[in-house]
């Protein structure tokens, strides 16, 4: 579904160049859920932005569903690292924005938006403006906006970073359910190893800047998974420890 081939990204700024990504290659199958972990500043967001067609790689090529990416596409949904809500729109109108763009019937859109808001625990807040919400609530609105699109490819940049453990656990379950239902392909950036092993089919570990592919860890555990009970299962525990070690050691381990 997603093909990333020898992608490098160099940012030129007044204060000098920054090499964000170096020769990254990755193939993601249709309906696969891939988590990306790596140190802060290693180029995870850059990689997602490249796949979304928001910027062009310095070198290398990216294809989605067989066609090279030349710009944004409507079958790719992107949840940004920052909420990016429109300050003049109420919560519900923010969530409905993509469907408005795609010209979906307003009633259908409203029903779906309400369902999603209920899902993330924001019922009752639909008429509020973004600045009246807490940080975590804003992030959840942004999540709803990404989910309402039901895109073939969903790119998520640290979607749960501002959420508490319980909300996070709930949403992890819901996200798995939705992904299985719509069979979307997901690229998911996270700093939480727990989240990665719970959600992903494969976890991609990037090395510190410049981001290179360090290792890909397969998560061969049956779904749906949850932190609750089987969260402490041996298989998951082992994977968690392995990823943890990978992230906590700085030396290079190439696959």
């Amino acid at each position: 579904m997603i093909g990333i081939r020898n992608v490098s990204q160099v940012y030129r700024t007044r204060a000098g160049d920054v090499e964000a990504l170096r020769e990254v290659s990755l193939d993601v199958a249709d309906g696969e859920f891939v988590a990306i972990v790596g140190r802060s500043g290693c180029g995870k967001s850059s990689l997602l932005r490249l796949v979304a067609g928001l910027q062009t790689a310095t070198s290398g090529e990216i294809t989605v569903a067989g066609t090279p990416i030349r710009g944004p596409r409507q079958d790719i949904g992107f949840m940004f690292q920052r909420p990016a809500l429109l300050p003049w729109r109420s919560v519900i109108d923010n969530v409905m924005l993509p469907l408005e763009v795609f010209k979906v019937d307003r009633r259908v859109a409203r029903t779906r938006a309400h369902e999603l808001l209920d899902l993330v625990g924001l019922n009752g807040f639909d008429k509020r403006l973004p600045h009246e919400l807490s940080g975590g609530m804003q992030q959840r609105v942004s999540l709803c906006r990404a989910l309402i699109q039901q895109p073939r490819v969903l790119l998520m940049d640290e979607p749960f970073s501002a959420l508490d453990a319980l909300t996070r656990a709930d949403l992890t379950v819901e996200l798995q359910r939705l992904q299985m239902k719509h069979a979307s392909t997901v690229l998911f950036v996270t700093h939480s190893v727990d989240e990665a092993v719970l959600l992903a089919d494969r976890v991609v570990v990037l090395s510190p800047r410049p981001g290179r592919l360090r290792q890909i860890v397969e998560v061969d555990v049956a779904r749906p998974r949850s932190l609750g009970h089987d969260g402490h299962s041996a298989a998951l525990g082992e994977l968690r420890a392995r990823l943890h070690d990978l992230l906590m050691t700085t030396e290079e381990v190439t696959r």
Binding site: A52, L54, L86, P87, P130
Partner: protein, 271 residues
């Protein structure tokens, strides 16, 4: 600290809240006081420096004229008001889309801006007679001059607003592959509205002036006509009375525009 009270809004309104709480009546005190002070100063100047009335009439003389010629002045004020509003609306109708065009591409900006600037640079007083030659003595050349005077601030402010949209929001639009019109309608325009209103507030004050300048030429009514007509016979008090009405008109229209702004963009007051 025992009653339930609203928290300060997230915006920095610390000093303002205090004022608000003192009560509605006190809202109107400062402007009234300011106005009174200005009039007092004016009076003092005419008395202390014994300024002759052909240079600066005293407030009393002007007030007298305002009362005596009330009907006449009121009729002429309405004429000017009407021209101002028509021209202003025309400027919005033309200026906002033009701002859009200008921000749509750098190329267009480079082509259109210099021409607009040239056009804008022609002193409107010099244009007024030409407009009369081309369009006759009716209302139309006046409305057109108002339009000429105030469309430029609208274009500049709106263009500035449209091209300074927050980067996140523009990117959101791009990621949804919004077309140009959707980006404009759902993101750029709402984001530019506060800036648009800065332009509108400036434009409305210019519009009043534009109407008056237009009435200097080829008019038989309007405050501008009153000013020239009275100037020709050195009726300085009448001229000042007309100018004061002009000022009042300007203030009223400015605050009306500000009120419309508050109605349309309540969110702009916060984030």
């Amino acid at each position: 600290m025992s009653v339930t009270q609203a928290p300060p809004a997230r915006r920095d309104t610390a000093g303002r809240d205090t004022v608000r709480r003192i009560g509605q009546w006190s809202q109107h005190l400062p402007p009234v006081l300011g106005l009174a002070a200005a009039v007092a100063l004016w009076w003092a100047v005419t008395v202390v420096f014994e300024v002759e009335s052909f240079i600066l009439p005293s407030p009393l003389q002007v007030a007298q004229t305002l009362v005596e010629d009330a009907d006449y002045l009121w009729d002429n004020t309405l004429v000017t008001l009407w021209e101002t509003l028509l021209g202003f609306l025309l400027a919005i109708v033309v200026g906002v889309p033009l701002a859009l065009v200008v921000t749509a591409s750098r190329m267009l900006e480079r082509t259109v801006y210099p021409l607009l600037l040239m056009l804008n640079a022609v002193p409107k007083v010099a244009v007024a007679p030409l407009l009369v030659v081309w369009m006759g003595f009716g209302q139309f050349p006046k409305v057109f001059l108002v339009f000429l005077v105030c469309f430029f601030p609208i274009v500049i402010s709106t263009a500035a607003g449209l091209s300074s949209t927050q980067a996140d929001l523009v990117e959101l639009g791009r990621s949804l592959k919004m077309n140009w019109w959707q980006t404009f309608r759902m993101i750029r325009m709402p984001a530019a509205v506060p800036q648009l209103f800065v332009g509108l507030k400036l434009a409305i004050t210019l519009a009043v002036i534009g109407a008056v300048i237009a009435e200097f030429v080829g008019a038989t009514e309007g405050l501008g006509y009153v000013i020239v007509a009275s100037g020709a016979s050195a009726d300085t008090a009448l001229a000042f009375a007309a100018m004061i009405l002009l000022g009042v008109l300007s203030v009223v229209l400015f605050y009306l525009t500000a009120a419309v702004e508050r109605f349309f963009v309540p969110w702009a007051d916060r984030s």
